[in-house]
Symmetry: C2
Subunit: 388 residues, 2 copies
């Protein structure tokens, strides 16, 4: 009761009241004209977000389900794909490939760094059997944003499909399918789309569809060809989370009202706010360049553990942040800044970070870290992100 | 505005306001002590509903996802299973098996009839290689309820796993795992559980777990062993629909307050209400015996098509019912009576059926069909279902 809750995790994210109230309405049936009309509205909004004229298929699953759908729908058993592995979700591509018979050729990138497009080109040139590149646009586990546009310039002139996990990227940072030449883009509902988890979205380019049409079905639940035939008439193969689809229609209306460029600019400015505040506090930003626009990772100095720091931040300041993952679980804090939040939530976040850090025995020199953060925010909002 | 909407489809079903308002709350993160505590509460409630002391795994998927999870987790490629195929969802078992390499031995049952447990025993005795029986408890496409308890007496003394799709059965009609000896029971959120679609639940018996431990993973997203290890610490392998889990906790609280036997008795009485009303109208009940307690199917006479009848019912009376499926699409109406509804919704449903039938050119003799339906309801509520 002393504080509000500020959910600054890299998904789930806070939800707008408009979206929550739409989702609180009673059910509609998913095989009715009313639902088909909702699906058509959602398709139109998503086509702007994804920059495609193809269908965007909704799946009742987390983002991982859509990753498995992409692997099984686009590649045969025994086919080789290049996996950019620079974090937990890059590793997830590898695991999915192995379970479903696709052969991953791993392009390993140290956690915290982005892949070099030249390294992708070299790997493809070295092995002509590689028919796909699997990558994260934003690697949620590290806060890195891989240079997807440059990677697409490598794949689009080759017979190689570019499959991008856009879970922490779609509607947060530009990732236009058509303009860049992305062959498969997928995301989950619980990040930039300002919805609860439970709905995944996936879209294929025309050349990816041509390839998919040649692949025998080997994953009954995730069959994109079947889903496409249903989607084209406003349905889905299996029952969709109809509440989430209704919520998605509302969040897409909000995107339509303000426009995607303004959202991207806001995300960029929030990122600048967090980075300036963390730097002013004298803490270590884990990603120096190629950082994501929806999550910022901070490396803790020796002796300060993420567990007690996060517990203190939640209890005393009402701020819920995330630890690192795997080897970085204890040594990293991740501040999510996507979904329905603004600069004020991040001021609370920086304050909670500073206070909890000191509480855990750390030393911080900075005085006006919040003002420095706000200066960076307003400047970034005025100037916008650098031209690519 | 002239009528309220009465959603009488066999899923999704109407939702209690209590549940909708809980789901309208803002997000919590799924890897926090608060969520783990919610998961523990949900486990306890589900164990009563499923009658098991094993974990009940939540999956971010529709019920079909849980069906695929069961097939891939319990049977190797090349293994034989007996599939009871008496409707669209029985056929779905077969399709899932074929895609995932399991060999279905089909026990075909005419639509509208229940399987004979003796036929299951004969099929198993004929082929000692069959290691599982896949069945629906309630076949949503026809309104049949297969005699699951009797089938379990056949499987539980054999080295054969009984896998039951309880999507239209769990919390609607008794299907106690332990007491009957069901090896795998699964359901979806959008039926008896009074939630939107998007969450599936699945539980295994100890002997099913022993079998599952021997099966190599071949479906990355639906890996029940991995899910169990996460569930035991209040988490899940992949992001869950946290809003639905919060809603599930609330609906389980409602079940706890009234008790499962009272809910089953209500479902039985609602079924008697619909059947008496339909009979009083002189319409054909598709299922004579072994009928489901959550959906009633009605065969239309020649010349009356489900499409215009359902459209009229929705427009004039605010009542949304479902057509038949596949070969019965035009010839059948299905009235759902599960989830958050009571006798009054079904009076509207019967009235809409009668009025729309006449509107479409049909002839009905009955006068007091609503009173006859109510008599059947109150008698059934007093007397309860017949002892098995």
């Amino acid at each position: 009761m002393l504080t509000k809750t500020h959910l600054l995790t890299p998904g789930p994210t806070p939800l707008p009241e408009r979206v929550r109230l739409v989702m609180a309405r009673d059910m509609v049936h998913h095989r009715t004209p009313a639902f088909a009309s909702l699906m058509r509205e959602v398709q139109a909004g998503l086509q702007v977000l994804f920059d495609t004229d193809q269908v965007i298929l909704p799946l009742a699953s987390s983002g991982t389900g859509a990753m498995a759908a992409a692997v099984c729908s686009l590649f045969q058993p025994g086919e080789k794909v290049l996996v950019v592995e620079g974090g937990k979700f890059g590793e997830r591509w590898t695991k999915i490939c192995r379970v479903h018979g696709v052969v991953p050729v791993i392009l390993s990138v140290p956690w915290g760094q982005a892949v070099s497009p030249a390294a992708v080109a070299e790997a493809l040139d070295r092995d002509a059997d590689i028919s796909g590149v699997l990558i994260q646009h934003a690697e949620t586990s590290t806060g890195v944003q891989h240079p997807l546009e440059a990677v697409a310039t490598v794949t689009r002139t080759r017979p190689v499909l570019l499959v991008a996990d856009g879970v922490s990227a779609v509607s947060i940072t530009p990732c236009p399918m058509n303009r860049w030449g992305i062959d498969c883009l997928l995301t989950g509902s619980q990040k930039g789309l300002m919805l609860p988890p439970g709905l995944a979205l996936i879209s294929l380019s025309p050349r990816a569809w041509s390839k998919a049409e040649t692949i025998p079905v080997r994953n009954f639940y995730f069959d994109l060809l079947k889903e496409r035939s249903f989607c084209l008439r406003g349905e889905s193969a299996f029952t969709l989370p109809v509440g989430l689809v209704a919520g998605l229609a509302e969040s897409l209306r909000m995107f339509g009202e303000i426009g995607l460029p303004a959202i991207h600019r806001k995300q960029w400015a929030l990122t600048m706010l967090v980075r300036a505040g963390v730097s002013a506090l004298g803490l270590d930003l884990f990603v120096r360049e190629h950082f994501a626009w929806g999550v910022t990772s901070i490396l803790l100095p020796g002796g300060i553990d993420s567990g007690p720091l996060l517990a203190r931040a939640a209890e005393r300041y009402g701020v819920v942040m995330a630890a690192g993952q795997d080897a970085y679980k204890e040594r990293m804090i991740r501040i999510g800044h996507m979904g329905w939040l603004d600069y004020s939530d991040l001021l609370a976040g920086l304050h909670a970070l500073a206070g909890s850090f000191i509480f855990c025995g750390g030393y911080l020199g900075a005085g006006n870290y919040l003002e420095q953060a706000l200066d960076a925010y307003w400047t970034a909002l005025d100037e916008g992100p650098p031209a690519a």
